[in-house]
């Protein structure tokens, strides 16, 4: 049993990990074909996994409705939303547009799905304001640096801010756009690259841990 649940999966991970790593150094067509084949397998596995996800979603919300759990009314909308997209998709043969105009699926997509997605995205604008307010509460030296950088950026992006800058600091011969450009291209890029280097090294080491079987928690129980 341990062979099936532990050693064979580890061998598969090792083999595919090493082959995928090697494909970076082997440009041959065999290597390219291998990468495409693995990608196709991934899509097939994904399709089956999506079915599992859908069953999990329906099961969970069905239970909530059946047990009349708190907020069970919202669970009804899961099924309503699902049917509101699937039935038009079935009727329209999966096409959003036709020669005569948009299909029923196109209508559902444009006036239900897109409208809801846009609403959700628009909420982000309000959250950014409240987050900005929170970040402007200076609690430490680092927060002060963040505040100063953000304040200059905000000042430089609005015409009124530019007028204020020119009238107060115009004598320095240093425009607010120059300061913004310096902040964005020097300290911001330096910090970003530092993080990126750390992330890349961490990703490499994590990959090794998985390929060489040091980390095997994802296999579940023995």
């Amino acid at each position: 049993m341990k062979l099936i649940k532990k050693y064979i999966p580890l061998a598969i991970v090792f083999t595919f990990g090493v082959l995928t790593l090697a494909s970076y150094y082997v440009p041959h067509k065999v290597s390219v074909d291998y990468t495409e084949l693995v990608s196709q397998w991934e899509n097939i596995v994904y399709a089956f996994a999506f079915l599992l996800g859908l069953i999990s979603l329906f099961y969970s919300h069905y239970n909530k409705i059946a047990r009349k759990a708190d907020g069970w009314g919202y669970s009804i909308f899961v099924f309503v939303g699902f049917l509101a997209m699937v039935i038009p998709a079935y009727i329209s043969g999966g096409k959003q547009g036709s020669e005569t105009g948009i299909t029923l699926l196109g209508w559902s997509f444009r006036y239900i799905y897109n409208a809801l997605s846009s609403t959700m995205f628009a909420v982000l604008a309000f959250y950014i304001v409240s987050t900005a307010y929170r970040s402007f509460r200076i609690k430490s030296k680092q927060a002060f640096v963040l505040f100063v950088a953000a304040f200059i950026l905000i000042l430089g992006k609005v015409p009124l801010g530019q007028i204020i800058w020119d009238s107060v600091l115009g004598w320095t011969k240093c425009g607010v756009s120059d300061v913004i450009e310096w902040i964005m291209s020097v300290p911001a890029v330096a910090g970003k690259r530092g993080i990126m280097i750390g992330i890349s090294i961490g990703a490499i080491v994590t990959s090794f841990k998985i390929i060489f079987g040091i980390e095997k928690q994802y296999l579940g129980k023995d």
Binding site: A49, G53, G198, I201, G202, A203, S207, Y218
Partner: protein, 423 residues
């Protein structure tokens, strides 16, 4: 009589000699190209582009004194034995030398004395037909609307087996693997000192709070797929968090964006509950698929957070625009929030909305840090070694390139840049 004959012979010889000496310049005049004309290319050669999948040809010929911006070269390619020429490229004659091919010094002779032109055959003949058949090439020199054809060269391209240009990358990989195994074996013998990570130390505090308040813990693994390293790292952290959750006998909920991630996380959580000695507390609905649409997922998780008011929320994995939508709602609900992502564009949002944020590689270190397992913790040393290599390389690289540029040692600077270049 004899004297007369000698005089005749001498005259004849002298006449012949004069004729011979005069004939040489006259022949040279015959071969000389007319004024304004360009002699055709004579030493055109074909080569397969090295270190590629095939389908790319290289044409080479010597740089000539007549090469200047007024002269143009046109490259023609044909897949047939005769005719059917397709114009593949056109460029001024003073451009495109071996130096323009972006390969490092150990894999390519970057000579400025010869023209080198890449011809991507799939652009003209399709992907499938470019490796195997013989192709014909010619170069036409154009000056003042007059054209001069070169001879025809033929050849076929082939798939190569090794990217010699990535040798520097391979050597670095071998070094890191060596250090990795050294660190793993070293970890078995004695423990390693690992610096404290505040965000991870706060996990106990967050879970303790959830237990005291009798409220659930939310673990959000983001919108990445299982092929993403940050999502894989997130599943490791989930394992440790759910183990503690099981020990404290509190509730955890893991809403998912990706069904494959959900399947893996189910196994991880089940294993953690088992290891904590609480398999009876495990329920299948701990991991729940929500939606595969970014904003539908965010809306649904926001709704769950608003209704249930969890005591602690973890955002670990790959996040994009929904990061702020989730973190801000969590902050409003009063939960302790610990976030970690490798998306540097989302880090500012987590910084401002969450109590603790794991930056970059701390996300990858978190699983090992929490498990305290020597084998996993040893990998953190490899991360430190990698950072040391980068710091030393950057420091000496800056000095060497600056000194080389200052002293105009162009080949030296090129060598340094090649050594650290990605190909």
């Amino acid at each position: 009589m004899i004297k007369n004959q000698f005089g005749f012979v001498l005259f004849s010889v002298l006449f012949a000699a004069i004729n011979v000496s005069a004939a040489k310049p006259s022949q040279a005049v015959k071969k000389q190209t007319p004024a304004g004309a360009i002699p055709p290319i004579e030493n055109l050669t074909f080569a397969d582009m090295p270190y590629d999948v095939g389908g790319t040809a290289l044409l080479k010929w010597d740089v000539r004194p007549t090469d200047n911006p007024d002269v143009m070269y046109q490259i023609y390619v044909s897949s047939l034995e005769t005719g059917g020429w397709i114009k593949a490229d056109e460029f001024p004659a003073d451009t495109r030398t071996g130096k323009d091919i972006e390969l490092p010094f150990w894999a390519w002779n970057a000579s400025v004395k010869e023209h080198v032109v890449k011809v991507e055959l799939p652009n003209y003949f399709g992907e499938a037909r470019t490796t195997g058949p013989v192709f014909n090439f010619k170069v036409v020199t154009i000056k003042d609307k007059k054209s001069f054809d070169s001879g025809i060269v033929s050849g076929k391209t082939a798939s190569n087996w090794f990217r010699l240009d990535r040798l520097n990358n391979l050597l670095l990989l071998v070094t890191i693997i060596t250090v990795f195994f050294w660190a793993v074996s070293h970890a078995k013998r004695k423990g390693l000192f690992i610096r404290r990570i505040a965000g991870l130390d706060a996990i106990d505090e967050a879970l303790g709070r959830a237990t005291e308040m009798g409220k659930p813990v939310y673990y959000v693994p983001g919108i990445g797929g299982m092929s993403g390293i940050s999502t894989i790292a997130s599943t490791f952290i989930l394992g440790e968090v759910s183990k503690k959750v099981a020990q404290y006998d509190t509730q955890i909920k893991v809403p998912h964006y990706d069904p494959i991630v959900m399947t893996v996380c189910k196994e991880v959580v089940k294993q953690s509950f088992l290891e904590a000695g609480r398999p009876d507390s495990y329920r299948d609905d701990i991991n729940q698929f929500i939606s595969q649409d970014q904003f539908s997922y965010a809306a649904s998780v926001d709704g769950m957070i608003s209704r249930e008011k969890p005591a602690a929320i973890f955002f670990m994995g790959y996040f994009m625009a929904e990061s702020l939508l989730l973190a801000e709602v969590g902050a409003t609900s009063g939960a302790i929030q610990i976030a970690g992502t490798d998306q540097e564009s989302q880090l500012p949002f987590f910084f401002t909305a969450c109590d603790y944020t794991l930056i970059g590689e701390e996300l990858y270190a978190a699983g090992a840090y929490l498990s305290k397992e020597p084998m996993l913790m040893s990998a953190l040393k490899v991360q430190d070694f990698g950072k040391l290599v980068v710091m030393v390389s950057v420091f000496f690289g800056i000095i060497l390139v600056a000194v080389g540029a200052r002293l105009h040692w162009d080949p030296f600077v090129q060598v340094i840049l090649n050594l650290f270049g990605a190909y």
